[in-house]
Symmetry: C2
Subunit: 286 residues, 2 copies
């Protein structure tokens, strides 16, 4: 198959490495000439160009740009695509992407490989990045089944665990486990910085260990990524923030009223529920 | 020196191992005969008993019971102590402990070795648990300087990093970096469980990866420990919860108003501030 990849960063580059190793012909497009040269030199692609016309021969194109660039990229890409070409993306939010792209190109299905690390750029591309990680495919009622199946088969060939759900369900689920944690973790760091006594702040800094390190990690990450996810998944994030504030207020209230039995009960429910999130093999029961 | 240890769990047991290896004579007291036997067999103590009278010979006594048992333990211990004996504790909250114990025994200074792991009990006792970890000593204006120095020297001999501060400053600092994270992390798990659609909850469970794992870790821990810290550090915890809610509401509001510049600015401040908590060698600047 001829595979096109637009955007040769960590995700696009790692896709190229794996798909080429399966004997697909991989064509890469980047805005930067230097990235094109690096991609060829590192064996990420068979050919690369700054010109989207390279993708005329592509059977399937993965859009691997940042969320904010997906729509304009597709607009520029369409004049070059073969009419039967299949289009997919790797954005971490799906409803807004699918709503924008599906009307432009019916052979489109949204995707979200949930892999990555704190690195970025073509230099960080690696083999088997997607292996044993979730790869979510989000067809709608209008998506041609062959389009979904083609992208799903490619994702499966990466060793990923395939999930199929609606764009809205995807966005709601990632709001809970990915986007909400960023906001509460960021609020923790922000709150600590509010300590008015510099001596106490210094002590807090000296005393901080694994508990603070873990809870503050995602809130201390890349600001652009944080804003992107809030911007593109705003409705679902706001919904999870509201639910979170309710639950936080409930626990706050228990501590204020010294309702230690109620607090113990809540903490026990959490202790029992967490392994069902952290170990996906366990079933979640109610 | 003759060292007494009341409560032979992870902390008490590990103290015994290190102090014995420095040729102190270590006398242990546990409520359970079986623990006494285990402590002797494992070389944690030179002698052990369920009877506090064993500590008549002790020069320094470490109270290593749970917070809730410190006061009653000291009341029972006092009739057996030599008048010059020095008393300290290892509780994770200091103001309430110091306020209760100092009037009973003037040769007392509060302490908090910030070491440990998820294990407990004499079986988990280990050498060098305290090495390179903070050990906070919290004298008041009334604490005899020799008492503070004696306990500080013993803590230093464990390889710990010594901090000296008031009980109130200690409690305020640990509220920020230890107790507040438990509550916000617990609220995250609780909020996710509120998702009304079982299919979305199942997806969230399947998609959860390192971000959720880290942010939810301390909120899914031992419920009794969570209640203890809330109970004994209630005032400082409530203060940090209020500040946290203010900061959370601010970010919530930025997302609601689509103030992406404001959000980016906040996230950038966090990104820059976090290493000062996570790497204590860096200075915190304002």
């Amino acid at each position: 198959m001829n595979i096109g990849i637009v955007g040769l960063g960590l995700i696009g580059g790692s896709l190229g490495l794996d798909l080429r190793s399966q004997r697909h012909r991989v064509l890469g497009v980047s805005r930067q000439e230097r990235t094109c040269q690096l991609a060829i030199a590192r064996g990420v692609v068979d050919d690369a160009s700054v010109d989207l016309a390279l993708l005329t021969a592509a059977d399937v194109v993965f859009i691997c740009t940042p969320l904010a660039a997906i729509s304009s990229t597709v607009h520029q890409l369409i004049p070059h695509l073969s009419p039967t070409a299949i289009l997919t993306d790797v954005g971490s939010v799906k409803l807004s992407v699918v709503k924008t792209i599906a009307p432009l190109w019916p052979n489109f299905v949204g995707g979200h490989p949930m892999a990555g690390n704190s690195e970025s750029g073509i230099e960080s591309a690696q083999f088997r990045l997607f292996k044993n990680n979730p790869y979510v495919i989000t067809p709608t009622n209008e998506t041609p089944p062959t389009v979904t199946e083609t992208v799903e088969n490619l994702a499966r060939s990466l060793g990923a665990i395939i999930y199929r759900c609606s764009p809205a369900d995807h966005d709601r689920a990632v709001a809970w486990i990915s986007h909400l944690p960023v906001i509460i973790s960021a609020s923790l760091i922000g709150a600590c910085l509010n300590e008015p006594d510099p001596a106490v702040l210094k002590l807090a800094q000296n005393f901080a260990s694994s508990g603070f390190r873990d809870t503050s990690r995602v809130g201390g990450g890349n600001p652009e990524l944080g804003v992107m996810m809030a911007r593109y998944n705003r409705i679902e994030l706001l919904r999870s923030l509201e639910q979170y504030r309710d639950r936080f207020d409930q626990i706050f209230d228990q501590i204020e009223r010294e309702d230690w039995q109620g607090l113990a009960q809540q903490l026990l429910i959490n202790q029992q529920a967490r392994p069902r999130f952290v170990d996906p093999k366990q079933e979640l029961e109610f």
